[in-house]
Amino acid sequence: MIKPDLSIDFVGIKLKNPILTASGTFGYGYEVADLIPLIKLGGIITKTITLDPHCGNQQPRTSEVLCGLLNSIGLQNIGIRAFVREPLKKLSKIGVPIIISISGSVVKEYVELAKILRDEQNIISAIELNLSCPNLKKMICKDLFLVQDVIESVKILSKVPVIAKLSPVTDIIELALFVQNAGADAITLANTYPAMAIDINSFKFKNPKILLGGVSGPCIKPMAIRCVYDTYKNIKIPIIGCGGIMNGKDVVEFMFAGATIVSVGTASLISPKNLIKILEEFESILTNKNIESVKEIVGICSTI
């Protein structure tokens, strides 16, 4: 059996394989370099960076749910200026494509972020706009005018491709089409799903403790794959598939549904080694199925 060609072109970026880290689950990108060979990754999507430093949300921030993780971190990060000063320099030495996830609450912040990142165009491969963080006061992708403004403003400034990370909190096909028309080069589907945990044991004379956040992990996989499938049939720009990938089979499913590449999040929190395991399993499935190139399987569920 011949080893499959895992390399793939994504919005002009040459990736040696389609498996990346997901934003917000892999720190700034280099912290676990002692645990896994980062060079094996298809690419790294950083945690979401904002213009100014963010201290994030109060405790509690996480809760385990059935087959998933509920979190409300609230984009804790050191801010773009500190980020380009040190973490980005470290990231650039890894030798894999780097995608910077950014977020803001108004268009002006995105513009500032895009300007600062323009000076790093040789280091970064793309910008991912986190338009769907469920832990901010307002989820940007619920406001189509704001979405359009953000994408258009960043596109004008950016010298690298711009990816929009979305969530199916509204009709996902309409949203994806809208984002495509606004000029996004690709979309990421899907972010965590708005969810909640209630600690009924904490209820006595006071209100029970609750955690409002976004849920990730295998519990959302069937829904995230459906988003990719529905969207793939309706748009022309490529998709980063994301949501509960735990093994190589899951990667194949996302790609069959229409994802050109995928990003792995929660699995890497459980163990960074899962990224390598997923890659190996993925390669082995393709080998067993005699698939010569990973490019053959993208969107195969929708081909006639």
Binding site: D34, Q58, S271
Partner: protein
Amino acid sequence: MYRRLDKSYKVICNKKISTNYFKLSVKIDESIYKDCLPGRFFMINIPGVFLRRPMSIYHVKNNVLSFLYKVVGKGTKLLSNIKEKTLLNLLGPLGNGYNLKIYKKFNHVLIAGGTGIASISFLITKLKKGILYYGARSKKDLLFLDKFKKNWEVIISTDDGSKGYKGHITDLLSKRIKTEDVLYACGPNLMLENILYIAREKKIKGFISLEERMACGFGNCQGCAIMVNNEIKMVCKDGPIFDIKELYLNYNNSI
């Protein structure tokens, strides 16, 4: 940075040592042996629950690493069913561990509440003498009492009065604490808050071991953030041991 491994080890013991309390031992690699210090922890992969669980090091000797745990929920229940010779996946050692260097000449006063005794009793093995304050719910929750004899004064409290003082261990601590003491504490949040209050009031130095929910244990999930000295710190990476003087704990509003 010291060495940490993400690896499966053979379980060589997983037995009940008292009502609901278990001791788990695994045979580890020599390469991480010397970095298994008191106050550090491992993330343990328990088949059947989604996330790994953090667990303090209770003991390490001859490449055998041990943990002490109480069966409280689904995860620890499943863990208690794991048989000898099973391979168990662990990530660690993680965290900073107790700082034993800066207050060497002070009297060591250790305070353990409940399963906090795990990391505290490991710490005792590294210190020549001192006082151990040890509080638990009741007599049957007190562990290893026979172990701490030599050079160690052991002061006991139980919530129900079934052994030692009836009440909080911090009631006893506050009466006897002196400025030449350095505190090392591990236990439930209420106990730690009391210790912080006492230490601040009486200007006592020391360290406490914090617990916070963690999804990953190595800094990437950012789930265990707390405010330390006006800066955000991760309990898993920057802690779990923090200097008392930098902490302003309020568990309903910790950031």
